[in-house]
Each structure stands twice: as C-alpha cells, then as structure tokens.
C-alpha cells in the first residue's frame, strides 16, 4: 500500500547520493524487507547518517507534487538525507511485529533518530497500532521531537481522538511551537479546545505575559458571548496580536462579533478583500 510513497522517497534520496551510497542503501533496503534481525536494523539505522550524510533532502517540485497526491499534508521541509533514509528503511519492514519494533526503537533513539521515527508515521505498516507510542512521543520535552509529530505530519489529524488532539495543540503553545504547521488545525478545531484556550489567555493575562496570537485561529469559529469580549480585548494588543484577533472575530458565528470588528475598519476591510488571512499572517508573524 505504501509502495508508491516509498518509491518517491527513494527517488528523492537517490538524487542526493553517489554510487557507493546508493549501493549501500539498496542493500539495506533489501535486508529490511527480508525481516531483519534486531541488530542489523539497529546498525542500519545507526549507520544511515554516517554513510549517507545529513545534507538537506530538498526534494524537487515534481516529487513534492507526487507526494501530495499520496499523503496530503505530509511535509518534507527540513528533512535531511539521513531522515529520509531512516524513514524509508522503516517503511520497508514487514507489517508483522512492526508496532513492537517501533516502540522498542523509540525507547532507545537519540534525538535525531526520534525525529526521523516520528516524521515517517504516515507511511509505516499498521500505523493504527502506533498511536499509543506517538502519545508518548508528545510527552517528551524536546521541541524538535514534538514538532516531528505535530508539524507537517498528517498522522495526528487522522489518528488522534479529541482528547489527544486537544492536548497536542495546547502543548504546542506551552513549548513555544507554532500552531499553523499543524496539519488539520482548522478542520479539527472544536468547542472544548476554544474554551481551554480562552482560559489559557486569562492565565497569561493574569501573569502579565503575552497571549500567543495564533490561539484566536482556534477560538474564532466557536467564539460566542463573553469570548467576544476576549477577542475585543486582544484588539488592543500589538500588531500580529490585533490582526489575529480581527481574524478571530471575522470567523465568529456571533452577530456581536461583527459590531466589534467594525471598530477596526481597516482590518475588517483587509479581511474582506482577502489580503489579511491566516496564511499571510502566519508568514509575516512567524
């Protein structure tokens, strides 16, 4: 089932490798499909960066287009050659026993390995069975590992229940990660998450700390009643903060939101003209 994806990854990799490296990779891939011993798996994963290097993978546009057709939302931005090789090795393993192996590998992974292990989630066999280990991955403290799961990775959108989803988005706020790279951020927004974010904004204001502007993206479509007051208040914050609050107001189903938005006609009009939207704001306020 993941054969087309593996072939895209292999093409991206081969474009970055010399002949000896290609040969090494092909040998390892052949060994993976033949149900390797634990030791040969560990050695292959450990040797990947030493043999192939860690240069940026930088796939070309054609490969990215093919990939988008296979695994929508999956981003290879920031991937190294070693990441792609590790993911491809794992994706080539037999389905039987994969979940146990994945768990075992995660438990002894170094940071770079952890990042690769989780980035590859969308293409592993039996990916349903990995959800619990992915939850463990989110509990760690290394931001880059958290982002390997939360950013540019459609696994969470597809597999997480509401609780795990909510806590992943909240944790992104707490560790200083961006929300916009979360695949499915708008589709999976919900009432409960909006309520928790409002509480979070109150805590931050009470502590005299800034309220991250991206929360209004999750709050807006569910903003009613007193939540409109919170959005109105955020209009008094700085540049990115007030523009995000305006976008939140524009998304609110509560008629009171429109009246508040009228207080900032220049932002209201920019939204209406399509000049101010989340993509533009995310790019500018990153």
């Amino acid at each position: 089932m993941n054969e087309p994806v593996r072939s895209i990854l292999r093409d991206c990799l081969r474009a970055r490798l010399d002949e000896a490296q290609k040969r090494w990779l092909d040998e390892q891939l052949a060994a993976m499909t033949a149900s390797p011993s634990d030791k040969s798996l560990h050695v292959a994963l450990g040797m990947a960066p030493r043999r192939l290097g860690k240069a940026p993978l930088a796939p070309d546009a054609e490969a990215l287009a093919r990939l988008a057709g296979q695994v929508p939302g999956w981003s290879l931005a920031g991937w190294s050659v070693a990441d792609a090789a590790r993911v491809l090795l794992l994706a080539s393993l037999p389905a039987e026993g994969f979940a146990e192996r994945f768990r075992d590998l995660c438990q002894t992974a170094d940071v770079a390995e952890s990042i690769a292990l989780y980035r590859g989630l969308p293409v592993y066999p039996n990916s349903d069975a990995l959800e619990r280990q992915v939850g463990e991955g989110l509990r760690g403290n290394v931001q880059a590992v958290f982002e390997a799961i939360a950013h540019g990775n459609p696994y969470a959108r597809q597999h997480f229940d509401a609780h795990r989803w909510t806590h992943m988005v909240l944790k992104a706020l707490f560790v200083g990660s961006r929300l916009s790279p979360i695949v499915g951020l708008d589709e999976r927004a919900n009432d409960e998450l909006a309520r928790i974010m409002i509480d979070f904004s109150h805590e931050r204001r009470a502590a005299g700390r800034p309220v991250p502007w991206e929360i209004w993206r999750c709050v807006g479509p569910f903003a009613r009643g007193s939540m409109i007051d919170d959005l109105a208040r955020a209009l008094d914050d700085g540049d990115c903060f007030r523009q995000a609050a305006a976008l939140g107001l524009a998304a609110s189903p509560d008629p009171a939101a429109a009246a508040v938005l009228d207080r900032v006609p220049e932002l209201r009009d920019a939204i209406a003209r399509g000049e101010l939207n989340w993509e533009a704001l995310s790019a500018r306020c990153a």
């Binding site: 030791k39 560990h42 050695v43 450990g46 040797m47 960066p49 030493r50 860690k54 240069a55 940026p56 920031g78 991937w79 190294s80 070693a82 990441d83 438990q107 002894t108 992974a109 170094d110 940071v111 770079a112 390995e113 952890s114 990042i115 760690g140 403290n141 290394v142 931001q143 880059a144 200083g176 800034p210």
Partner: protein
Amino acid sequence: MMFIDPHAHMVSRTTDDYEAMAAAGVVAVIEPAFWLGQPRTNVGSYLDYLSTLVGFERFRAGQFGIRHYCTIGLNSKEANNEALAEGVMELIPRFALKEGVVAIGEIGYDEQTALEDKYFRLQLDLAKELDLPVMIHTPHRDKKRGTSRSMDVCIEHGLDPAKVVIDHNNEETVRECLDRGFWAAFSIYPSTKMGNERMVEILRQYGARQIIVDSACDWGISEPLGVAKTARLALQRGIPEEQVRLACYQNALDAYGQSGQMKEADWLNPVDIDQRALYEGNSILRGGREPRVEKLANRRSMDDLIIK
C-alpha cells in the same frame, strides 16, 4: 578563549551550571556514562540512563549554547554485579553508534576484581570493533598500579594509545601515561583528585602535548568551572597561551574527534538540520525568552529578589 570540558556528568548539574559554563567559555562537554552514586538494580534503569545521555541531556545542553557529547560503557563498579553487567553489555552496541557518542567509556578498574577485568576487556574489544576511542577511569585506591595495568591491558588488546584517554591522573601516574603515548587527562575535582594549582605545575613541568584537563563534575561537591578556572590560573601563572589552549580545548577535540562525531564546526558553524534543531548558538534566542542576561554573579544572591 573557548573550552571543552571532556568529562562532566551533566545529568547531575543544574541549569545554573550550564549557564555559568557557557558564560565562562565552555562550548562543548563530554558526558561519560557512569554510576549514579548508588548502584542500579536492573538493566532497565541503565537503558533509561543511556537514553537520557543521547537524548534529553543533549538537547538540554543545546539550550544553553553548549554542545553535548557522551561516552557509552559499563562502569567498573557495576561490572561487579554480573547479572546487571550481562544485560548492559547487550545494550552497549545498541547505543555506541548513536549520534554524538565519542568513545567507549568511562571503563576500567575500581577494586580491580576479576569481573571488572572481564568487562573491561570485552569493552576494549568492542571499541576496537566499532573503531571508537576509549575513556579510561583509573581507580582511586591502588591508583598507580591500577593505572599501569589499565594501559597494559589496552596494549594487550591491540588498541592504539593515541585513541585512549587515561583519566583522573595525578603527579604519580602522569609520566608513564605520556611515555607510553596515551592521552593523560586530569580531573580538577576538589579534595579528592587534583587541584588546579597542582595542575598548573604539571603543565609547567610536562608541557601540554598529550594533556587534557576536565572537571569530572558530578553529584558530589565538584566544580563545573574546573576547566575554565584552571585555564585562567595557568595564564596568570605564566603558562603560554598555546599550551593552555591545547590542554583545555584542542587535545580533547583531537582525541575524541577520532570518533568522527565531534568537530569544531558543531559549535562554530552548525550546518546540518538535525544539529540546528538541537542547538541554540550563542547569538540565537528562542521566541518569547528574554536574552540571556550576564548576571551570573548575582544568581544565588538574596538581593536579587524578583522572580519573573
């Protein structure tokens, strides 16, 4: 001046120590796998410890602009628990190829028992097989004999002395280390191992060609600024700057750089993507965090009352 502390048990240290080390010029640390001050009772706690060394601690150091490397090994004290030792020996090949592992270590003798000898030898063979340098912990008791014996066994197993660091040297052991072509490391550890005034005299007497200074800071009363303070004292007392640079920076890099896992570019110019994700260079600040304020002298003062 840049420094490397090539023997520091950072899991036992606080963020204040990392900040102070970074402010004093330490750009990289090497954390040898060791015991925890009390024996582990099962292999699972060893597995988690080794995972921490290649995982979270590496990340934590990077937050303070310090590069973290480690050595992997079964220490001599715990080699005496045979059931534990057997389990750990199965883990070591699994961890020795992780990113940033610069040696097998710290291994060697404690009481010089038969079991210590057995696992020391097995790990020397593994280091040879994986082409990794070795960091040797020399014993506190019967030190001179234990140090000679450690070197004898390395030679017997066919290791190149240029890939072996003999650590915790003193005035009595240094000559033999140097004469036999090993790296001679000194731990500036208050009261027990070596003080920095004595260290300066050793540099004056022997020069710095194969000499490495470290702090060995751990969970005991120890000094994470041991390398930086020794360097300053040595300069004050007239040791040439080039010799200080060798002993407190370059020799550690040359010895452990033979692993292929540690190079100057790691801290001067981190290029690859994985590395950038794990390292906050001194000029890079994370979103939302205040610039690092150089107020370290006040850090533990009650006069600095406001906590934000």
